[in-house]
């Protein structure tokens, strides 16, 4: 047995670590980024990072790294893991570009992708390697399903794809690099298993508190202290948009390798809605006194009030939005005094009050929109931003960063047979961009690839397409597109809706079937490092032809069948012309067959010998005569 089932690639690295240099230590840091967004929303991005040296990982010696997850990763030979839980949608038009370049974001529902080690010690048959990787993948999704209380186990072969262009490893996957150098012709020592990227999506999965709890349990402070104390299921899942991510990746610097786990929670809260008291969450119409009326309207009066739009920023505080203040810093955090825990991004002229029981180190660089705070240990911390009407003379607003692209995807058509997919990709920038467009479609949506059209002046540079296999594999479509500057590219194709077996329908068959979001990766421009930016469309609902599991149609179908049967037989009897059997001309084909048979019989008889010849021919003749008599309707047996 291999030592501890750890990824062989990582094991191979161990001797490389120079014992002379201090081993990378266990680290844990956390950070909260707050930024008010236009339209009365607040973006809150939580990130938690812990690292463990590979040696400890191999030795099963964990300090901050969650053991439960580590064991799964070791068992399934996972080199890099990305897990996303997402709900709602990011509104690019009002909120600008996505946080973290969309790297920590997933399609609606659950999304998972991981680099798994192929089950190979050296050269093996391709199919077998793939099967080993698929088994590991299946182990991985099933274990994660248990760990995160999500239906990840439904990511089966039909929902798994192997993207080529859309994802690249974020960590330093030495194994990948090693094999790549192998391909370039360098001498290889012991060939390690290659890494294989597998990707699955569950668009229908509803992310909820039950997923948050295991997520928090992976954190060292488990939501009791530090910024994670703000994470409350009620608020998180009342957000307009929220995404949770777990990323595990190996990071190597100068031969020192450590395993890093990054957990993030990003959300956009509606400030007004979040601040509603929990006792009366119902948004009843406000009392008349609380409504700002536009007195300039000619008709304005005691019973007529045109609501005035409030331009300024609302007052808010962390406690009112999240229901509780931050319960001090996480004592396990290894952050140095230079690291700040909370970052707030507001216009420089906005008043901010820090409510804390202890002195809070803070920093706000001059003329900067950013303010940093450090959490006091063991003491509550809160930020209060009073209401501030906007000064119309010098409106100071946060600059809104434009997203790299605007993408929207819709389904067109109606009826139960055909449909179409329609994606609009708009590039607002004055330079052209290369994007990878990835779609993973379930097998019951059958795209017609000949109808795939890229209109506008977008150019289709490359395409990776894996056709579907009914009930086994979905379609994987990866397009490398070039989107010219300031233009809109339209991507359309038609598809056919498959008819499922009636046992394959879910209980809510008439709701439709969820189609996972398309992933758009904006590739980094030349000379630019990094992953590029990611965008995801919303998921879609595909109505399939659904048998009516209820009454009325059954009635129609049954009646029609009875009528057809009755009508058919009566009509047949009335209309058919009956003739005597003798009158039916022998069809030329039947005659030919008969003659051939006769010949064969004769030949056989000849071969067998003269003694049986006579009998054999007689029998054949009788047999041939039989059917001829039976031609026509047997019921009429009149003879002249």
């Amino acid at each position: 047995m291999k030592l501890l089932n750890l990824p062989a690639a990582l094991l191979a690295l161990l001797p490389l670590i120079n014992p002379g240099i201090a081993l990378p230590s266990n680290n844990y840091t956390e950070h909260l980024h707050l930024r008010p967004l236009p339209g009365g929303s607040l973006y809150a991005g939580f990130s938690f990072t812990s690292t463990t040296p590979l040696s400890s990982y191999v030795a099963n010696n964990f300090r901050y790294f969650p053991r439960a997850l580590a064991q799964i990763l070791q068992y399934t030979h996972t080199a890099e893991l990305h897990l996303r839980f997402a709900l709602g949608r990011w509104d690019d038009e009002s909120w600008g570009s996505r946080p973290r370049d969309g790297l920590r974001e997933g399609g609606n529902g659950v999304e998972l992708w991981a680099w798994l080690e192929n089950g190979g010690d050296g050269a093996k048959v391709e199919g077998e390697e793939a099967r080993a990787a698929e088994e590991r993948w299946s182990d991985l999704v099933n274990s994660l399903s248990g760990l995160f209380c999500a239906s990840l186990n439904f990511v089966d072969s039909g929902k798994t794809i192997q993207p080529v262009l859309s994802f690249s490893p974020e960590g330093t996957l030495e194994a990948g690099q090693q094999t790549r150098t192998n391909f370039t012709g360098e001498k290889q020592g012991e060939k390690q298993g290659e890494l294989r990227l597998l990707h699955g999506m569950l668009p229908h999965e509803v992310v909820c508190t039950e997923n948050l709890t295991p997520f928090l349990k992976l954190l060292p402070c488990k939501g009791k202290a530090g910024i994670s104390s703000l994470l409350d299921g009620h608020k998180l899942f009342d957000a307009n948009w929220q995404t949770m991510s777990v990323d595990v990746l190996p990071v190597c610097h100068d031969g020192e390798c450590e395993l890093e786990i990054q957990q993030t929670v990003d959300m956009v809260l509606d400030v007004e809605r979040s601040m509603r008291p929990r006792e009366s969450p119902i948004p009843r119409p406000l009392p008349m006194e609380d409504i700002l009326c536009d007195e300039d309207k000619s008709y304005s009066g005691h019973d007529t009030c045109y609501p005035k739009h409030f331009d300024g920023e609302m007052e808010w505080s962390l406690e009112r939005i999240f229901g509780r203040p931050i319960r001090g810093s996480c004592p396990l955090s290894t952050a140095t005094s230079d690291d700040f825990d909370v970052t707030l991004e507001v216009p420089a002229d906005r008043n901010i009050q820090v409510l804390a029981e202890a002195a809070v180190p803070q920093q706000s660089p001059a003329n900067s929109l950013i303010r940093h705070y450090k959490l006091p240990e063991g003491k509550d911390f809160d930020l209060f931003l009073p209401q501030q009407p906007q000064n119309p003379s010098e409106p100071q607003q946060l600059p809104l960063e434009q997203p790299p692209l605007y993408v929207s995807r819709q389904m067109t058509g109606y009826g139960a047979e055909r449909g179409g997919m329609h994606t609009l990709i708009r590039n607002p920038h004055p330079y052209s961009q290369r994007v990878v467009y990835l779609e993973s479609l379930p097998w019951f949506l059958r795209p017609y690839m000949h109808t795939l059209k890229v209109s506008g002046n977008g150019r289709l540079k490359n395409m990776y397409y894996t056709p579907l296999i009914d009930r086994k594999r979905g379609t994987q479509l990866e397009l490398l597109l070039e989107i010219p500057a300031e233009s809109t590219v339209e991507l359309t194709y038609d598809f056919e809706k498959a008819i499922l077996r009636y046992t394959e329908y879910p209980p809510d068959a008439n709701r439709g079937f969820d189609i996972p979001a398309a992933v758009v990766r904006v590739l980094p421009t030349q000379g630019e490092e990094g992953q590029g930016q990611y965008l995801r469309t919303t998921s879609l609902l595909l109505p399939l032809p659904t048998p009516d599991f209820s009454m009325p149609y059954n009635v129609i179908i049954l009646t029609s069948t009875v009528i057809a049967l009755g009508f058919g037989s009566v009509f047949n009897l009335l209309v058919r012309r009956f003739v005597l059997a003798d009158e039916v001309p022998v069809s030329p084909l039947a005659g030919l067959v008969g003659r051939v048979k006769e010949r064969i019989g004769e030949l056989k008889a000849k071969l067998k010998g003269s003694a049986e010849v006579g009998e054999g021919v007689e029998r054949k003749k009788a047999a041939n005569g039989g059917p001829r008599e039976a031609v026509g309707d047997g019921s009429v047996r009149k003879k002249k």
Partner: protein
């Protein structure tokens, strides 16, 4: 075996051969009586909510209080907008939507029908459900002008203030689309068709721009029609409009929800088809049924909701009627509750009936109970067709007696048939089977059907100024065509005429029974109008002179009068049920007698208006009533006439 031989024996039974016309007549009578029975308690049911998820009226509605003041302000605002130009109005509405916090957009559309342009601009806004995942959406609609052309002041204002109020809720599982269309028919049509298509490819008759903003699959639509002016007007009841294009109906659950929310929760009475005073008597129920039958058979839009039905989006319009004590807030709360119910849906509405006839807001007939009425009528044609087919297969006695040198048949009439030891005497005529020649009848039938496309094309493509005269011309040609055809047909042997009629009736029966499952009302009405066609037989000849040049005797004159007595009424009836004549009658406003005020305003339309409406229906709304009239009814009628007259104007003998 025994059964089939017995059946075989039956088909030679003279009784059975004489039965079909009576059977056909019986079918028609049963069909009509069946329909008349439906309003009885025994044949209809009380409505009920089938989908558990809807929970109608189970939510508290909070729309009220300060929202009322805001509503009044919006109503003033809408009134101010109505004073401005169309362009300013659209952008005013768009601005209003933006300030509520919706993503707003506009859509232009135009159709060219009968040389006239129907154009307008829709404005709509998307309220993204805060926690929704953009897969589903529902529509709250208020047309700027309602179906009668009045400006929908309060409806638009109410929709705006409702959406503003909805914006603060986080419970929406679906996006809400606020749609303010230009008119009540074509605006929604343009919008919903653009919603379901990729891009707009303009044709000569249709130019609809694509929608810049879309949401997920539409789950339902509610339209408000409340044309009270800026100072408001209280209403008595809500008229729930539900008929879609081509007689498609929304799921009964939606209608029931609307009725039960308005009735039980808000105490607003509901009516159907503007039958404001409905006392749930037999006659009232029958009236509602008849109105439903007529609107659905016409298949045209009856309100902004109609356009949604072909796309499998269930929709209703709530229209205020009368003068009572309910105010806009009651309507607002009823709408709020209805939208909340739609929001509760986990699946697309599917539980309840899509095929039903409503007798009252709380009573309906399900498809199993009413469908036989139309099916039996359609069946009457099939029975006649079969009878004619059987007849055509028998060597006609007339042929033999007259055909062979005018002598009575000298050959023996009976023939000895032996089966084993059994012997039987069988009439010889039964044993002789005539060869059926079906090519010519089939060709004639096909060409008549193709000829039906000519009026269909002309009436849907001509300019409005020519439309009426074209219709007069078509009417004239239609009425003359049977004469011409029968002149031509009179050369054919009787057998082929029978086959022709048989085919025609067979096609009619099959088409109508198929149509009955899709649009019961249209199938039933066309079936009734065509009913006499099964009984058409070649009329006796009026003039026996012809080529024989015999002297007229007194007997001839008597026979002439006698045949005239038969010919004239049947010809009159025949022409009365012709498609053009019926259309003339409809245009004259006769159906308006049933509901003088509001039966689609046909009485006011006149012929010109009716034809334009029909053309618009065909071109812009996708109504297929025209196709049924000119492609099913008209050919059947023409062939019937040709058969009817094949002997009257005959020059030659019947059979040659």
């Amino acid at each position: 075996m025994a059964l089939s031989t017995r059946l075989l024996a039956l088909r030679r039974s003279p009784v059975l051969l004489k039965l079909p016309p009576y059977l056909s007549a019986l079918c028609i009578v049963v069909g009509v009586v069946w329909l008349l029975l439906l309003p009885l308690n025994e044949y209809s049911r009380s409505t009920y909510i089938s989908e558990n998820a809807i929970l109608p009226g189970q939510v508290h509605t909070y729309f009220g209080g300060s929202e009322h003041n805001i509503f009044r302000a919006y109503r003033q605002e809408v009134w101010h907008l109505s004073e401005r130009s169309d362009h300013d109005r659209i952008f005013g509405l768009e601005h209003e939507m933006r300030s509520i916090g919706l993503k707003a957009a506009t859509q232009e559309y135009s159709w060219t029908v009968a040389g006239e342009e129907i154009k307008g601009m829709n404005v709509y806004g998307l309220l993204q459900g805060p926690r929704a995942d953009a897969t589903e959406a529902m529509v709250l609609m208020a047309a700027w002008r309602n179906f009668d052309g009045q400006i929908n002041y309060s409806g638009v204002a109410l929709a705006l203030s409702l959406v503003r109020y909805f914006k603060r809720w986080s419970i929406w599982s679906k996006d809400i689309i606020l749609l303010i269309t230009d008119d009540s028919t074509y605006g929604p049509e343009a919008w919903v068709s653009a919603y379901h298509s990729t891009s707009s490819i303009a044709t000569s008759s249709r130019n609809i721009s694509a929608l810049p903003i879309k949401a997920g699959a539409l789950q339902g639509a509610v339209a408000l029609d409340y044309p009270a002016g800026p100072w408001g007007q209280r209403f008595e009841k809500l008229d729930v409009l539900y008929d879609g294009i081509n007689g498609a109906l929304p799921n009964l659950d939606l209608l029931n929800t609307a009725v039960s929310v308005a009735n039980s929760q808000m105490g607003i009475g509901c009516v159907l088809h503007n039958t404001v005073h409905h006392f749930d008597t037999y006659s009232d129920r029958l009236l509602t049924l008849t109105k439903g039958l007529l609107t659905q058979s016409a298949g045209h839009a009856t309100g902004p909701h109609s356009a949604f039905m072909p796309y499998h989006v269930d929709a209703v319009t709530l229209r205020t009627v009368g003068d009572g004590w309910h105010d806009e807030m009651s309507l607002g709360r009823a709408t709020e509750s209805l939208v909340r119910s739609l929001n509760n849906l986990l699946e697309h509405l599917h539980q309840s009936f899509f095929f039903y006839i409503l007798l009252n807001t709380n009573r309906f007939v399900s498809i199993g109970n009413y469908l036989p009425a139309a099916m039996i009528i359609a069946g009457s044609f099939t029975i006649s067709a079969l009878a004619l087919w059987v007849q055509s297969g028998k060597a006609s006695k007339g042929d033999e007696q007259l055909g062979k040198d005018g002598k009575k048949a000298t050959e023996k009439k009976m023939e000895l048939v032996s089966d084993g030891d059994d012997l039987a005497l069988v009439p010889k005529s039964d044993l002789v089977a005539a060869e059926r020649k079906i090519f010519l009848p089939a060709t004639i039938l096909l060409s008549v059907h193709l000829a039906g496309l000519v009026p269909l094309y002309l009436l849907n493509n001509l300019n409005r100024s020519y439309l009426t005269s074209a219709f007069h011309f078509i009417a004239l040609a239609t009425l003359l065509l049977p004469f011409y055809l029968s002149l031509q047909l009179s050369r054919l042997p009787t057998q082929q005429i029978k086959i022709l009629q048989s085919f025609s009736l067979l096609f009619l029966g099959a088409t109508l029974s198929m149509l009955a499952t899709i649009n019961f009302s249209l199938a039933f009405i066309i079936g009734l109008l065509c009913a006499p066609l099964s009984f058409l037989r070649p009329l006796p000849r009026l003039f026996t002179t012809g080529s024989l040049k015999q002297e007229r005797t007194v007997d001839d004159a008597q026979a002439f009068v006698a045949s005239l007595v038969v010919v004239l009424p049947s010809a009159a009836l025949y022409f009365l049920i012709s498609p053009p004549v019926v259309l003339y009658v409809v245009a004259s406003g006769l159906p308006g007698l049933i509901d003088p005020e509001n039966w689609m305003g046909l009485g006011r339309l006149g012929l010109d208006g009716l034809l334009v409406e029909m053309a618009r229906g065909w071109v812009a709304q996708g109504v297929w009533t025209g196709l049924v009239v000119w492609g099913v009814w008209w050919p059947a009628w023409v062939v019937g006439g040709a058969v009817l007259g094949s002997a009257v104007v005959g020059i030659h003998d019947n059979g040659t």
